[in-house]
Amino acid sequence: MPTIIFNRPDNRSERVDASAGDSVMQVATTHGVDEIVAECGGNAMCATCHVYVDEGWIARLAPMSEEEDELLHGVAAERLPNSRLSCQIKITPELDGLVVRLPDRQI
């Protein structure tokens, strides 16, 4: 079972066991990681599941779609080069140990 590590804005860290096939957003919202809002429920529409992917991991993710790139222009917190929408990151066994940092706001 892959483990995902969420680093919160107050530097607390949360390790969560995830199921392959779920998205990082689903893992967060079903494990009380409240910094992920996910208003649209994972339909790539609202830009409220923004995360900063740890530098060491960013290149190992599937590349983002044009739609995700456009939505990231509208995120509430600052967009950085390692910004992604967590609903668009599908968990695979290779992502065991993935580290993401959570922004301080989504809206």
């Binding site: 208003e39 649209c40 429920g41 339909n43 529409m45 939505l71 222009h73 509208g74």
Partner: protein, 403 residues
Amino acid sequence: MSASGFTPSAGVPHMDIDPFSIEFFEDPHPAHEVLREAGPVVWFDKWKVYGVARHAEVHAVLNDPLTFCSSRGVGLSDFAKEKAWRPQSIILEADPPEHARTRAVLSRVLSPTVMKQLRGSFVAAAESRVEALLAKGSFDAIADLAEAYPLSVFPDALGLKPEGRENLLPYASLVFNSFGPPNQLRQDAIERSAPHQAYVAEQCQRENLAPGGFGDCIHARADAGDITAAEAPLLVRSLLSAGLDTTVNGIGAAVYCLARFPDQWARLRSDPTLARNAFEEAVRFESPVQTFFRTTTRDVEISGSRIGEGEKILMFLAAANRDPRRWDRPDEYDVTRKTSGHVGYGSGIHMCVGQLVARLEGEAVLSALAKRVSAIEITGPATRRFNNTLRGLESLPVSIKAA
């Protein structure tokens, strides 16, 4: 059995409920429970259609647009057999792959980036509306707030001319009634529709849309080659159809919830940053858009029930939003609930493209109320407005006091 057979597959429970009757609309929740508990798929004898009312099945149907198509209409009428009452929508009533192109245009016009630009003016309009209502003291929360506020921001954001806006709500009501069966509500709406249709067709033309508004931005996508010049007015029409009455009923639902549940109102007042979630929870709890249909494109099995090709399936979004299989305390309005996953805006590729506008309007109104108003009291009978698809009130007399 095919759609022409008028009988469901073996094992699918028969329902003698009419989900488009006034009696049903008066209080749909007990009937929703009956539908949910009867089975994962049900059959309506009166309209010869299947129905799904549990969250899992509603979500599954919404997220398989190739099997459960929209191009044959998202109402009871099957466009493969009957002519649509108006030119077919090129987004709502379209399937992949064609749908992606028109959808991308509206997604861009109504994107999070655009909402950031609108936020200031939408918030200011909500605050001045609430100040004016405080000065009045007593008012109708539907006409004077749930309708007046969206009418004060959305048509301007779209770029509509001031003249003729009184057609907007009747046109939207017509569109949402048209998804229902050929009952009195639908027939009356279509009979009276000619002037509203003429108004809307006219306003969709480029020369009638102010520069920089949503409508003008849609036409600009035609210049860029994303859509044709003939498609642009039809996409503007989608915003005129679905962009106003939905938020009217969403805001009406939220105010009605907060007026009925003082503990939740107190919670919102103690933390006005809950405004956006309080609105979202009202969309789950009341589901302003109650239902939509899909049509099967092949023989398919849903949770063990076999359904033939060419069958209409009625999805009960409202029942899914209170399915105890999915939600704790589903019949409680809770402003702190984690609402992600509700299907009040649908789900999948057809999920409401204007959801960010709706949330911005809802948040702006509830936030202004939470900051400036100490108490909301219902002072007269709340009366219901009946529509084949939309759930909301006709009138909600209230009085408010300044904080």
